[in-house]
Symmetry: C2
Subunit: 196 residues, 2 copies
DNA sequence: GGTTCAAGCGGACCGGGGTCCGGTTCTATT
DNA sequence: AATAGAACCGGACCCCGGTCCGCTTGAACC
């Protein structure tokens, strides 16, 4: 009979070989993305590159989207870190409006840079929810400080929607706009909301 | 020697059997979507249901996304018709702000109703461009009538982004908001832009 | 009606995502 | 150290989107 019940908050630790494989897979994936682009990262090719079986890849990451999400997660963590405790105006210390505008700019750049990766990660749906909820919370907070009235939950979502990877990519690659102009338009709208 | 050169504007008409197969495939696809949902529409299953070979399906519609786009296109045509010449406030005859708000509401409903179909059609990227450009033009036009100052191209895109199927679906299905509330938030933002 | 040939047709085939299960390896317990 | 059993491993297998190519058919001109 087991002496200690498994604690709820303590998932049974990952075995050492499993951890090794996870690292190996993530490294291989990053290498392949860097060298040949996102589309070249086939689950079979990745397994071979990392020297493991295909089943292992799926065991670790559930799906291709899950793998891509794990890659995106690194950037996401760094970005959230920068927002929560980095230097102003993105981080704390600057006036709320400046922080909001800096957030938009920074997010546009991040989403444009990793648009393909995010799309492959099924961004709009699964993982997007987590990232979205962080950004939405941040934006609601800033809107609150700016004493904006109204349904902040919906307003935050509406302000965030134009930052989506597909939207930015569409404007940059098919409409020939540059980030400065896009951001200026978005900032214009934000200011009207705040001053309205 | 051919008596008449093929006129440039006149693509060599579709053969009758080809036209028959196209209709047959579209009908079968609509039936399957209705009965079993979008995901059940496999290219193999569709071919069998329509009584044609798989190659024919791809000849007609290029890809699964192309097929879905063809299905979406019907609704899209009707909607554009309603905007261009339907009854107010969506169609012409109402004040610009009323038309703009009605457009948002109507589009939200359309996008929510056909969210799965639109996603399967690769909405955000290919076909989305055509639909987007119609909506964007319409919104720019209304913003112009409302004498809104600024970069109308970018502002229009920013106002349209929150209407995207994925965004609406996310709010309705994962955040438990209803369309009335979402539309109210969007309308709030639009009014601030117009009055700002 | 006969001839011609581009257009259409269809199913065998391929590559990639995802599943499964028998064999192997790690770790907790004694 | 030995044992047991859970976690892990890997590759054969399945399904689906997409391609290819040899055969068929429709239509336009004689």
């Amino acid at each position: 009979m087991p002496v200690s019940l498994p604690l709820l908050g303590e998932p049974p630790r990952e075995r050492s070989d499993a951890a090794r494989n996870r690292e190996s897979l993530l490294c291989a994936a990053r290498r392949m993305v860097e060298a040949e682009g996102v589309e070249a990262v086939t689950m079979d090719a990745l397994a071979e590159e990392a020297g493991v079986g295909k089943g292992t890849v799926f065991r670790r990451f559930e799906s291709r989207a899950g793998l891509m999400a794990a890659l995106v997660n690194d950037f996401e963590i760094d970005w959230q870190e920068a927002v929560l405790s980095g230097p102003p105006p993105l981080g704390p210390g600057a006036p709320p409006l400046d922080r909001l505008l800096a957030m938009g700019r920074s997010r546009m750049e991040l989403n444009l840079t990793h648009a393909q990766l995010m799309e492959a990660a099924g961004w709009e749906l699964t993982q997007g929810a987590a990232a979205h909820s962080f950004i939405a919370m941040h934006v609601r907070h800033l809107l609150g400080e700016l004493e904006v009235r109204g349904d902040l939950q919906v307003i935050a979502t509406v302000l965030i929607a134009p930052l989506a990877p597909a939207v930015i990519q569409q404007q940059v690659e098919h409409e020939g706009l540059d980030l400065d102009r896009i951001h200026a338009g978005w900032a214009d709208l934000v200011e009207r909301v705040v001053n309205g």
